[in-house]
């Protein structure tokens, strides 16, 4: 029942990621949570690619995601650096300039 386990692992990882994203105060921790959630999605894609053994489209797609995630991490981190420079903090609770 490797397939089911994979799905559970993905779901667990996603939940952990979501939990990290929602609860951590530091922007870098939130970024890390997002990485976790992306990887959870990758696990799901890989799990479902077992239904397509010839093309393996899921695995290819997850490779794309890893690439995009890397780029995203770079952009995200640089934004965080800028934000930190501007606000002198990376605490998301304190960066609420957009409050209506």
């Amino acid at each position: 029942m490797a397939f089911d386990h994979l799905l559970f692992l993905g779901a667990l990882l996603f939940c952990i990621g979501l939990f990290v994203v929602v609860t951590r105060k530091n922007a870098i921790m939130v970024l890390i949570g997002i990485e976790l959630m992306l990887n959870a999605a990758n696990i799901n894609l890989i799990a479902f690619s077992s239904f397509d053994p010839n093309a393996l489209q899921g695995q290819i797609f997850s490779l794309f995601i890893i690439t995009v995630a890397a780029a995203e991490a770079a952009v995200g981190l640089s934004i965080v650096v800028k934000v930190y420079k501007y606000f002198q903090t990376a605490d998301l609770d304190k960066i609420n300039e957009l409050k209506g």
């Binding site: 979501l18 960066i95 957009l98 409050k99 209506g100």
Partner: protein, 711 residues
């Protein structure tokens, strides 16, 4: 049938430029004198001299030519064409000469008389306006224009009588003259309206032509003519014909100071003395008589009777009033009213020529009397100083001036004798002419119409009496001023006027001599009477008065000797009584000096001019003032109350509106704003700025969406 438009066709003539020049020069003087300033006296006198020369030249060249009319169209209202027209006939010519000549002499005299007055430019400007207005009345042959200039004469007399307006009495006198004239003018304008209603034109030529053509049918006055080809039949009750004449006469009553409006004239003495000379001789008061002469032919029998009776009453009343005055100018003023009464009466009895003749002779000797009185007043004023204060017009401070001012005395004597109507002087001729015509008229009319004759002859007696009284009090006896002031040196300081003042007086004295108007004692042979025949009446025969022209010369001849004898006799009696009463050291002369006002009923009636002023004050003025007060009360309480109440209700309404505005309209606006705000607050609370909350919410909703999609 007469076509109205044919009569009023425009008629050009080069002479019109001369007419306009006659009007324009005094008006130019009026416009420029004020600007010129210190040289105004010479400038204005020069202009008037020019105008006088112009008038004399016109008279010389046109005396024997036929009457000339010049006419132009002014404006048109609907079908009625308003025109202006000049008439150049002998009456116009002789009046222009007299008006300009007297005005010139007054200008000349004023050079000295007003020398010290600061407002000289204004004075000369007004004199110019006065002459201009009078020339307008003289030259125009159109009732509308005569009325316009008539009002201008009223205005300029107001300005000149009130020339020293800082004096309260002068400004009151000016107002009085103005208001009295306005009362007369109501009559004048009524006359204009009646004639316009009947003949649809103000042009005197139209009125005269249509008057001949109009007729009396069943007691109605019917005028039939065509206007632009359209037949017009105007019918009025016949009495309107008399009413129109009487209404026009009302204007003359105001201007020529006739009973009952004559009270303004004695008060008009508040003006400078040369102005009095101008008003009393050539302008203003002459205007009324001149108007009567112009409309003479369209007056009907009843109107003429009214004119005659009013004239006779005025002549008599004023002669009585002149008997006991203290003020030299008041005596002259009443004598003017009296002589004007003669002129008006002459017009009323149909003695057109005699009336105008008296107007001319009177113009010269009355201007002379005023100017010589002006010299006396002016010279007496020079004696005034800080400790010598007196009224320089009061005859009580004069006396014995013959020795101090022989030239003035001599001239004054000539004027006075002309006024008294003694043979050899101009006044005799004209007065004799009037009295003769009056005697013939009374004989024709009979009955109660002898009363004017009695009044007129009585006036002759009184005239000579007050004239002699005036001469005796001013020139004979002792100079009373030094006695009153107890300063003997004053009597040495009094001298004759200088030549600027004497020259006009001497010229007028020469013109007041009888031979100027003909070397004869019979006015019939005077060149003036021969030059100005009495016109015949143009009113419909039923209403026309019996013309004196139709009376045979024998009737006149038969009465002439008697009238002459009676008038000379009465004048001499008056002189004798006057001499006995007021000769130096006589009882009356002594009493006169001491009293503040004459005693006795007769003296009081005379001094207060039949209490006419008091009557007006008590009966009319009081009534008018009461009415004014009542109106003022009504205005203050009813009209103002209404306005105030209205304003108050407005304020209350405004307060209500304010409450409604504040609580209702504003409440609605506030409610909208409040709701908007609340909704805004509600929605902005979602925008917490917390990124993690957004993410969480997104997921929650995503999950909810998926749950919704799945189940």
């Amino acid at each position: 049938m007469i076509e109205l438009q044919d009569i009023i066709l425009p008629k050009g003539d080069p002479m019109i430029y001369w007419m306009i020049a006659l009007l324009a020069i005094p008006f130019f003087s009026f416009l420029t004198s004020q600007k010129i300033g210190s040289k105004a006296p010479q400038w204005a006198t020069f202009l008037l001299g020019l105008n006088t020369l112009l008038a004399i030249y016109l008279t010389a060249t046109h005396w024997n030519s036929a009457a000339l009319t010049m006419r132009g169209h002014w404006f048109k209202v609907g079908e009625s064409q308003i025109t202006y027209s000049f008439l150049l006939d002998r009456l116009t010519l002789i009046m222009s000469v007299i008006v300009n000549f007297i005005s010139l002499l007054v200008h000349l005299f004023s050079q000295e008389y007003m020398r010290k007055d600061k407002a000289k430019p204004r004075y000369y400007a007004f004199l110019g306006l006065f002459t201009f207005s009078m020339m307008g009345i003289v030259l125009f042959n159109d009732l509308l224009f005569i009325f316009i200039f008539w009002e201008l004469v009223g205005l300029s007399s107001y300005l000149l009588i009130g020339f020293w307006f800082e004096k309260k009495s002068a400004s009151i006198a000016a107002n009085k003259a103005f208001i009295m004239n306005r009362i007369g003018d109501i009559g004048f304008i009524t006359g204009l309206m009646i004639f316009y209603t009947q003949f649809q034109s103000f042009d005197l030529e139209v009125i005269k032509s249509l008057m001949i053509d109009s007729e009396i049918k069943d007691g109605n006055w019917v005028a039939q003519f065509t206007n632009n080809g359209q037949v017009i039949i105007n019918t009025l009750d016949g009495r309107w014909l008399s009413a129109a004449g009487i209404a026009l006469f009302c204007g003359a009553v105001g201007k020529s100071a006739q009973f009952p409006l004559q009270v303004w004239l004695p008060d008009a003495m508040e003006g400078p003395t040369p102005v009095s000379a101008l008003i009393h001789a050539a302008t203003m008061v002459a205007a009324g008589v001149y108007l009567l002469a112009r409309v003479f032919v369209i007056l009907d029998a009843q109107a003429l009777e009214v004119v005659a009776i009013v004239g006779a009453i005025t002549a008599f009343m004023a002669a009585i009033a002149a008997l006991s005055q203290f003020d030299i100018k008041k005596v002259l003023a009443y004598s003017t009213i009296s002589q004007l009464g003669y002129m008006v009466m002459a017009m009323g009895i149909g003695a057109y020529t005699s009336g105008l003749f008296h107007l001319v002779t009177h113009a010269f000797f009355k201007a002379g009397l005023f100017l010589s009185a002006g010299i006396i007043i002016h010279q007496l004023h020079k004696l005034e100083s800080k400790d010598v204060m007196f009224n320089a017009q009061d005859m009580r401070v004069m006396g014995g001036l013959r020795k101090h001012m022989p030239k003035t005395f001599f001239c004054f004597l000539i004027f006075a004798l002309a006024l008294a109507g003694l043979p050899g002087f101009s006044g005799f001729l004209s007065k004799d002419a009037i009295l003769l015509d009056l005697a013939v008229w009374a004989d024709i009319k009979g009955g109660g119409f002898y009363i004017p004759e009695v009044l007129a002859f009585g006036t002759v007696l009184f005239t000579s009496f007050y004239t002699l009284r005036m001469i005796l009090l001013i020139f004979f006896g002792n100079f009373r001023l030094p006695v009153i002031m107890q300063k003997n040196e004053l009597s040495n300081e009094l001298k004759d006027g200088n030549w600027i003042m004497m020259a006009p007086v001497i010229i007028l004295a020469a013109l007041s001599l009888g031979p100027v108007f003909g070397l004869t004692l019979n006015p019939e042979h005077s060149w003036f009477v021969e030059a100005m025949p009495t016109p015949i009446y143009l009113v419909p025969a039923v209403y026309a008065a019996k013309s004196l022209v139709d009376v045979s010369p024998e009737t006149f001849e038969a009465l002439h000797g008697l009238v002459n004898a009676v008038s000379i006799g009465l004048a001499l009696i008056g002189i004798v009584i006057g001499y006995l009463a007021y000769k130096p050291n006589a009882k009356l002369e002594q009493e006169f000096v001491e009293r503040r006002e004459p005693r006795g009923f007769f003296g009081q009636v005379s001094f207060y001019h039949w209490y006419q002023d008091a009557l007006y004050t008590k009966a009319i003025l009081k009534f008018v003032m009461l009415k004014a007060q009542a109106l003022s009360w009504f205005d203050k309480h009813v009209i103002d109350g209404f306005v105030d109440g209205f304003a108050k209700s407005q304020v209350i309404f405004a307060h209500l509106m304010k409450w409604f505005d504040r609580y209702f309209v504003d409440g609605l606006v506030h409610l909208t704003v409040f709701t908007g705000g609340r909704i805004g607050q509600l929605t902005r609370s979602i925008q917490s700025g917390n990124v993690q909350a957004y993410i969480l919410t997104s997921f929650v909703f995503l999950i909810l969406l998926m749950l919704y999609l799945v189940f």
